[in-house]
C-alpha cells in the first residue's frame, strides 16, 4: 500500500487586506509528495511558494484544508522537518557551533552533543569556524551554517526557502553541488528535500519532481517528473530541452495565446510594470532586430522571468509588442513610439492607454464624479472588489503611474486624490 509522505488536501490561504478585503494567496492546493525525492516548488514571485512551504512545515495554518504527514493530520509545526532560510536566520550573538547546537534535540548529553556537532561540521565543511560569529563570515558560509543546523536535528524532510537567492552566482553554484553531493551520500534518516525556487535552471538541475505554481491565485499548474540521470550537465541538450518544456508550461499559463478580440473586451488587471521598464523593453528589442525569445529577454534585462513577462504583457496591452508563444516582437506602433520624441510619445501613450478597459473604466469614474476627482481609497476599494485575487494597492500604483505618464490624470499625494487634468474634459 503506497502512501505519499506528504499530502495536501484542498489547502487554501487567504490574507486579510487593509480595506477589509481578502487576497486569495493559495487556492485549493492538492498535492502529494513521495518518499526519497528532491522536490522543487517553482513559480514566479508572488505565486505563494514560500507560503506553501510554510504551510507544509506547519509554520502557517491554512485558512482551510488539511496537511498529512505519513497519513497523520498535522496541526502544528512538524518537528521531523528542518528549514534553511533565504536570509540565513542565524543568531548573531551565538558562534557557529552554538548556532548549530540549537538544532539538536533537547535532553542530549553534552558530549553526545559535541559529537553530533563535530560530525555535521565535518560533513558540511565548516572546520575551523566553530568559534566564529556570523558577522565575521561570508554569505555562503552563513548558509552552510544554516544547513548544518538543519541537518544536525536529523530531519526526515529538509525544507529550503530560496536558499541561494541571497548569494552570488558562484557561491550558489558551489552550494548546489554540495547539496547534491550530500544527497547522493544518503544522509541517514533524510527522506526528502523540498526546495522553493524561482529559478528554472536550479529546479531542473536539482530535483526529481517539479511542482509548478501559477499565481493570482496561487495554484498547482502542473507537476513535472524530472527523470534526467545524475550527474546533470546544465549545457547538455536534454537538460536544455527539459528547461524549455518547463518554461513553456509556465508561459502557456501566464501568457496564453488567446485571440485579441477576447482579451480586449475583458476587464483585466494590469500586471506590475513601470513606464521606464516598458520603454526599456522596447529599446532592448530594438537592439535585437525587434524580436527576442522571452528567456533571452529576461537574461538581457537581468530580471527573473516572472517580472519580464509582466513587462511584456503590459507592453502588449498598449499595443507596442506582440507575444506569440514565447517570443516578444515589436509592432509597427511600438517602433513608432520608440522613434518619436518625448511629446509625441506622450500623445501616443495616451491614445493607447485609453484602449485598456481598466484604465477607461477608472477614467470614466473620475469624469462622472462630483468634483472631477476620486480618492485613492475609493479607487483601491473598486479594484479590490473587481479583482479579489490581486494586490489592489500594487495594482492602483501601476494604474496611477501609467496614467500620470500619459498625462491622463493628476494625482495629489497630499490629498490622495486622482483627478482630471484641467484641459481634459
Amino acid at each position: 500500500m503506497y502512501t505519499p509522505i506528504i499530502e495536501l488536501k484542498d489547502v487554501t490561504m487567504k490574507f486579510k487586506m487593509s480595506a477589509g478585503n481578502y487576497l486569495v494567496g493559495l487556492d485549493s492546493i492538492n498535492l502529494k509528495i513521495d518518499e526519497s525525492k528532491i522536490v522543487a516548488i517553482l513559480g514566479p514571485s508572488g505565486a505563494g511558494k514560500s507560503t506553501l512551504l510554510r504551510i507544509i512545515t506547519g509554520l502557517l495554518k491554512p485558512t482551510s484544508g488539511e496537511i498529512y504527514y505519513k497519513d497523520v493530520l498535522q496541526t502544528s509545526v512538524n518537528d521531523k522537518m528542518a528549514m534553511v532560510f533565504q536570509n540565513f536566520a542565524l543568531f548573531p550573538w551565538k558562534t557557529v557551533s552554538e548556532n548549530i547546537a540549537l538544532g539538536i534535540k533537547q535532553g542530549s548529553a553534552p558530549d553526545e552533543k559535541d559529537k553530533l556537532i563535530t560530525a555535521v561540521i565535518d560533513m558540511i565543511g565548516l572546520e575551523g569556524f566553530e568559534d566564529v560569529y556570523p558577522k565575521e563570515i561570508s554569505g555562503g558560509m552563513k548558509q552552510r551554517v544554516g544547513l548544518a543546523r538543519a541537518l544536525v536535528s536529523k530531519p526526515e524532510i529538509l525544507c529550503m526557502d530560496e536558499p541561494f537567492s541571497a548569494l552570488d552566482a558562484l557561491t550558489a553554484e558551489n552550494l548546489r553541488e554540495e547539496i547534491l553531493d550530500l544527497w547522493s551520500k544518503k544522509v541517514s534518516g533524510l527522506s526528502n528535500i523540498i526546495i522553493v525556487t524561482h529559478n528554472i535552471n536550479e529546479a531542473v538541475y536539482m530535483s526529481d519532481e517539479i511542482i509548478i505554481l501559477a499565481s493570482n491565485p496561487g495554484s498547482v499548474k502542473a507537476t513535472y517528473h524530472n527523470t534526467l540521470p545524475f550527474p546533470r550537465d546544465q549545457k547538455s541538450s536534454i537538460f536544455l530541452k527539459t528547461v524549455d518544456i518547463i518554461y513553456n508550461i509556465l508561459t502557456a499559463n501566464i501568457m496564453p495565446d488567446i485571440p485579441k478580440t477576447e482579451t480586449k473586451e475583458k476587464l483585466a488587471p494590469i500586471p506590475h510594470a513601470s513606464v521606464s521598464e516598458i520603454i526599456g523593453l522596447l529599446e532592448v528589442l530594438d537592439d535585437n532586430k525587434g524580436r527576442l525569445d522571452l528567456f533571452d529577454l529576461a537574461d538581457e534585462i537581468k530580471r527573473d522571468f516572472g517580472t519580464t513577462i509582466s513587462i511584456a504583457l503590459v507592453a502588449e496591452m498598449l499595443g507596442f509588442v506582440e507575444t506569440p508563444s514565447h517570443d516578444v516582437i515589436f509592432t509597427q506602433l511600438g517602433k513608432k513610439f520608440l522613434d518619436a520624441d518625448v511629446n509625441e510619445r506622450k500623445i501616443l501613450f495616451k491614445e493607447q492607454i485609453m484602449k485598456i478597459p481598466l484604465i477607461k473604466v477608472i477614467f470614466d469614474m473620475i469624469v462622472k464624479s462630483e468634483n472631477g476627482s476620486i480618492t485613492r481609497e475609493e479607487c483601491e476599494q473598486f479594484l479590490a472588489e473587481k479583482f479579489p485575487n490581486e494586490n489592489s494597492e500594487e495594482l492602483l500604483e501601476t494604474v496611477v503611474n501609467l496614467a500620470l505618464y500619459a498625462e491622463l490624470i493628476d494625482y495629489d499625494s497630499r490629498d490622495e486624490e486622482l483627478s482630471l487634468i484641467s484641459g481634459n474634459i
Binding site: R54, L59, A82, M83, F85, P92, W93, Q106, R149, D415
Partner: protein, 564 residues
C-alpha cells in the same frame, strides 16, 4: 485662474467651522495671557482652589509649556547645528550638553530667577520667563542630542546632491538637514514635552532664599492642594492634567506625527501610516488652503536659496590642522582652569563636615537610582517584550503607554507618600514612577525589530518558551535595554529633586539624599553649598556614564545587533 478662486470661496465645509472655532478659542486665550504678562509683578499669586479657576490655570501652564518648547526648538537648531558642523565646537558643546543634562532643574533655579527678575523688575514677564526657562531645561537636552546625531548621520548622497546643486547653507538646512532629522525630532519632542511637565509643580511653586514664589498654573494649584491636604483639589488637578495631556496629544502631536511620515527614509510606503483627524481638518479646510497658497514658502525661500552659490570648498575633508589643535586646547585648558579657580573661591567657605554630608547623601541617592533602574528592568523587560513582539498588541498599546508616560508622576506622589511615609524608601518608588517608561519604550522598540525569519527559525527548531526568551527575545533587546536604562538612570537622578523632598498635608517629608539637600540649600539661599551639591551630583552622573554605561552600550550594540 478666476474660476479656481471662485470655487474656493464658495466652498465652506465642516472643517472650516472647526478651524474658526479653534481660532476664536485661541484669540481668547491669547488675550488672557497678554493681560497677565502686562500686569504688575506679583511674586506669590493667590491660588484659588475652585475648579473654574483651574481652567484658566491650565491654559497658563499649557502656554508656558509651548513657549518653552519653542525655545527648545530654537536652542536645538542653534546648538545642535553648531556642534555638528564645527569640529572644535563639538568637542566642548557635547560634553557640556552631557553635563547640562545631569543638572537638576533646581540647579538652574537661582540663576534664572534672580536674573529674570533683575531684567523685568516691575511686570510679571520676568517671573513668567523664569518659569518658562525652567520648564525648558526639563525638555530640551534629549531633543538637542537627537538633532545632533541626525545631522551627523545624514546619508552621504543627500549631502553630495546639495553640494552639487549649489545649495546655500540656509537652503540645505531647511531642505535637507531638518527634514532628515524630523522623525527623531518629533519623537524626542514628545518625550521632551513630557519631561517638562514632570517638573511643572516645582517650576510654578518654588522657594528661593526663603521667599515663596507662586505662578498661576496647574503646578501651583497642585502644590497648594497637596500642602494643605485638600483632596478634592488634588483630584481636580490630576484630571486637568490628564485632559491637557490628551488634548495636546490629539490636537498637536498626532497631526505632527502623521505629517512627519513623509520624512521617513523608506523606499516604499509602509502600510502603517498614522492618521490624524486633526490633520485631515487642517488639510481640508479651505480657509487654510487659501492661506497656504498665499504664503507659499517657495517664494520666501528662493530669496535665500541662491544667496551664496557655494563651490565645493577645497578642504572638503577636514585636515588635521596641528597648529589649530594646539591653540584650541590651550585656550580650552586656560578657560577650564579659570572656571575651576573661580568655582573654588566661590565655595571656599564650605567646611569638611558639610562636604562629607553632601558626598554621603549623594551615595544614598545613587543607591536609590540604581535600585530603581533594576526594578524598572525587572518588570519592563518582560512586559516590553510581550508587547513589542506582537504587531497587533504594540499598535494598540502604544498610545496608551505614551499618555501614561507623559503624565507627571509628582502629581500622584502625595498618595504614595501617605501609603509609605518612610520616604527614605518610598522615594525609590517615586523615582520609578517617573523613569520606568524609558526602559519600557526602548524594550518595545527592540522587540518589534526582531527579524521574522529568526522567529520562524525558532519555531522550526522547537524552542520551548524558556529557550525562546533566553536565546532570542532577551539577547535581541539587550542593546535597547541598555539605552533605556541609561535614560532611566538619568531621569531618576533628576527625579530625586522631587522624590526626596515634599510638603504633604502641611508636613515636610525629607529623605537622606542629595535631592533633598539641593531643595534645602535653594530654600535657604546657601548658594555655595548648592553649587557644591550640583557639581557633586553632576560628576556622579557623568562619571558613571563614562565608566559603566557607555562601554556597556558599546559592547551590547556590537554583539547583539542584527546586521544584514
Amino acid at each position: 485662474m478666476a474660476r479656481a478662486i471662485e470655487k474656493k470661496i464658495l466652498h465652506f465645509s465642516i472643517y472650516d467651522v472647526i478651524v474658526l472655532a479653534f481660532l476664536a478659542l485661541l484669540t481668547y486665550g491669547i488675550s488672557l495671557l497678554a493681560s497677565r504678562w502686562t500686569g504688575t509683578i506679583v511674586y506669590q499669586a493667590k491660588i484659588s482652589m475652585s475648579p473654574i479657576a483651574l481652567i484658566g490655570y491650565t491654559f497658563f501652564s499649557m502656554s508656558r509649556g509651548f513657549i518653552a518648547y519653542g525655545l527648545s526648538l530654537a536652542f536645538t537648531f542653534g546648538y545642535g547645528y553648531l556642534a555638528a558642523k564645527n569640529r572644535y565646537a563639538e568637542r566642548i558643546l557635547i560634553p557640556i550638553l552631557d553635563i547640562l543634562q545631569s543638572i537638576p532643574v533646581l540647579g538652574f533655579l537661582p540663576g534664572i530667577v534672580l536674573g529674570m527678575i533683575a531684567l523685568f523688575p516691575h511686570s510679571n514677564i520676568g517671573l513668567e520667563f523664569a518659569s518658562i526657562i525652567m520648564i525648558f531645561t526639563g525638555q530640551v537636552w534629549n531633543i538637542t542630542f537627537s538633532f545632533y546625531q541626525s545631522l551627523k548621520s545624514i546619508p552621504k548622497d543627500l549631502i553630495e546632491a546639495s553640494k552639487i546643486y549649489g545649495f546655500s547653507k540656509w537652503k540645505t538646512f531647511w531642505n535637507v538637514e531638518v527634514p532628515y532629522s524630523m522623525p527623531g525630532l518629533v519623537w524626542n519632542s514628545m518625550m521632551g514635552m513630557a519631561g517638562g511637565w514632570f517638573f511643572l509643580i516645582v517650576c510654578e511653586a518654588f522657594t528661593l532664599e526663603n521667599k515663596n514664589f507662586m505662578l498661576p498654573g496647574i503646578g501651583s494649584y497642585m502644590a497648594v492642594a497637596m500642602s494643605n491636604g485638600y483632596v478634592p483639589g488634588e483630584f481636580y488637578g490630576i484630571i486637568a492634567m490628564i485632559l491637557m495631556i490628551l488634548a495636546i496629544d490629539i490636537f498637536f502631536w498626532r497631526p505632527i506625527v502623521a505629517w512627519s511620515n513623509k520624512f521617513k527614509m523608506e523606499e516604499v510606503a509602509s502600510e502603517e501610516e498614522s492618521t490624524s483627524f486633526i490633520l485631515d481638518v487642517l488639510k481640508n479646510s479651505h480657509i487654510l488652503k487659501f492661506f497656504r497658497d498665499l504664503t507659499n514658502l517657495q517664494k520666501f525661500q528662493s530669496k535665500y536659496s541662491h544667496k551664496e552659490v557655494k563651490h565645493p570648498s577645497e578642504n572638503l575633508y577636514e585636515s588635521q590642522n596641528k597648529a589649530g589643535n594646539v591653540i584650541f586646547y590651550s585656550i580650552l585648558g586656560f578657560v577650564t582652569a579659570v572656571i575651576i579657580w573661580r568655582f573654588f573661591t566661590f565655595v571656599g567657605n564650605v567646611n569638611l563636615s558639610q562636604l562629607l554630608l553632601i558626598l554621603s547623601d549623594d551615595g544614598f541617592t545613587a543607591f536609590r537610582v540604581y535600585l530603581a533602574v533594576v526594578i524598572s528592568i525587572a518588570w519592563a523587560l518582560p512586559v516590553g517584550i510581550i508587547i513589542g513582539k506582537s504587531l497587533k498588541l504594540s499598535k494598540r498599546m502604544q498610545p496608551i503607554v505614551q499618555v501614561l508616560a507623559s503624565f507627571p508622576a509628582p502629581m500622584i506622589y502625595p498618595w504614595f507618600a501617605m501609603l509609605f511615609p518612610q520616604i527614605n524608601w518610598s522615594s525609590i518608588l517615586l523615582m520609578l514612577l517617573g523613569t520606568q517608561w524609558y526602559v519600557l519604550f526602548n524594550v518595545i522598540a527592540g522587540a518589534s525589530t526582531i527579524p521574522n525569519q529568526l522567529k520562524e527559525a525558532s519555531m522550526m527548531l522547537n524552542f520551548d518558551k524558556k529557550q525562546l526568551w533566553r536565546d532570542l527575545y532577551i539577547p535581541a533587546v539587550l542593546p535597547y535595554l541598555i539605552t533605556g536604562a541609561i535614560t532611566a538612570a538619568g531621569g531618576a537622578w533628576n527625579a530625586s529633586i522631587v522624590a526626596e523632598y515634599m510638603t504633604i498635608n502641611g508636613k515636610l517629608l525629607e529623605a537622606n539624599g542629595i535631592g533633598a539637600l539641593i531643595n534645602n540649600f535653594t530654600n535657604s539661599g546657601e548658594l555655595n553649598l548648592l553649587a557644591v551639591s550640583i557639581v557633586v551630583m553632576s560628576i556622579s552622573v557623568v562619571i558613571i556614564n563614562k565608566l559603566m554605561w557607555r562601554p556597556l552600550q558599546k559592547w551590547t550594540t556590537s554583539k547583539f545587533n542584527f546586521e544584514e
